[in-house]
Symmetry: C2
Subunit: 277 residues, 2 copies
């Protein structure tokens, strides 16, 4: 499912980030804090035989791509250590910003709000369905029923209570909002998503808690109607959009952990999404 070249890219990206982190710490030049941080670098062993942790969350910033209807997140420094003794910011953003969750209420009158999703649905066997080969050539590619059947031929039936994620490779475009949204001359967006047929198959023929994509939407960018959103959220499932690093996580066998938003009445909100294997 993951081309070796992609894994290599992810590793390069990780080491580049580590380099930038190290560089950042040197520039800051606060030896005491960095030493304390280094002392903590030995990994905490996961219990019960889990070995690997994956962070499927993009770092959110004012440059993170958002749907044209939304404003980018804003961050205003309200307190500084020099003046106030501590550093703190005020944040303003739409609920559907960054790596974020869609609760059923986002599209369904009277549907479940994100804060009320039972926590046992936030732990789920993760099935990553790659359509990267097609998405590389066709920005309007969709997850089709035969992609799901193909995944099952390799990995067995989609497990009960699964979270099914579309991996299109789109997360590699995250730093360039124009390439991520990919509008044409008429401002129609072009990026991959779930087909209506695949969405209906998953909610009717399989037992899932939710679905995810590495693009901005469960639907394709060019979709005229929110057919995938309505099929999934209308069936009480949740969605997660703007997932990161799906190409690095095993396509079967990992467990997803969704640190979902918990503000009252949430249509959705930024999430921390982790996977363990």
């Amino acid at each position: 499912m993951c081309a070796p070249s992609l894994i290599h890219e992810v590793r390069l990206d990780l080491s580049r980030r580590h380099f930038l982190t190290t560089l950042g710490a040197s520039i800051a030049g606060v030896a005491a804090a960095s030493e304390a941080e280094r002392a903590q670098e030995k990994p905490v062993r996961l219990p019960k035989g889990f070995r690997d942790i994956y962070d499927l969350t993009h770092t959110l910033s004012p440059t993170t791509p958002v749907f044209p209807a939304f404003k980018p997140m804003q961050m205003v420094e309200r307190f500084t250590i020099a003046r106030d003794g501590f550093y703190a910011n005020e944040l303003t953003f739409g609920e559907h910003t960054g790596t974020h969750l869609d609760g059923p209420i986002h599209f369904v009158n009277g549907g479940m709000s994100a804060d009320r999703i039972p926590v046992d649905r936030m732990f789920a066997p993760l099935a990553v369905v790659s359509i990267k080969a097609r998405a590389d050539k066709d920005a309007d590619a969709t997850v089709r029923v035969d992609d799901l059947i193909g995944w099952e031929k390799t990995h067995g039936r989609i497990p009960a209570g699964a979270f099914v994620a579309m991996y299109s490779g789109w997360d590699a475009r995250i730093a360039d909002a124009r390439r991520f949204l990919n509008p044409d001359a008429k401002k129609t967006l072009h990026f991959p998503g779930f087909s209506e047929e695949a969405a209906r198959f998953l909610v009717k023929e399989r037992d899932i808690v939710g679905v995810g994509v590495d693009t901005l939407s469960l639907d394709t960018g060019a979709a005229q109607k929110f057919v995938a959103h309505l099929a999934f959220l209308g069936a009480g499932k949740y969605g997660v959009e703007l997932l990161a690093s799906l190409g690095a996580v095993p396509p079967a066998g990992a467990t997803l952990i969704v640190g979902g938003p918990k503000h009252h009445g949430a249509s959705g909100g930024p999430v921390r999404v982790l996977a363990v294997a």
Copy 2:
């Protein structure tokens, strides 16, 4: 560690919440959505022998208590299903609102920002240290070194890479901001926290990744200086404040999972905190 009466209170609260949820769904009157939700209610089995999930996160709302220096969170409805085809809000809040994380940078120039905390530190053996018996009588009660030693006499040495949480019973006051902040006539706040000695003991004599409290601050409300914050964050540890339901989770043996904030340069931010046992 957990008085039976408290467990009973938690259970009452859970059934009350379930009742309110059911009531809310009936009022909304959308049979289709609630049926879909009911169909999903069978629990997702956790892998590798975990049986129980605990949600240690308060529901955040404009009435959630905040430090007097901060504004309550604001939520503005920007999109409605009737007008726009979907429902979505815009949120504004300080980073230290609701159940939230403090990164080292919150108090340490050049310290690690919350988005850069390595994910392996977000999984930690959880040690819950109860000072509820004293806090019930004295709002200025602190976690002392002998409380930590007492926990170890019962449960064994604090595990490597642990997250140590103070349980004072303060979460029962969350619905009443005045009782939660507990100001006296001179506006000095009174609620429990970590003593400086206990903080120094944990960062020097034990191997922890972070600490938590069920109050608004790692320090007591009456503390004149941020001695506990400075001891913990100065040593590169993170803090989590406004934890919920610590009285319901086993005092030893559970694994904490912190769905930490990931906006660039975060001094901290709302988190989803879960525990599994």
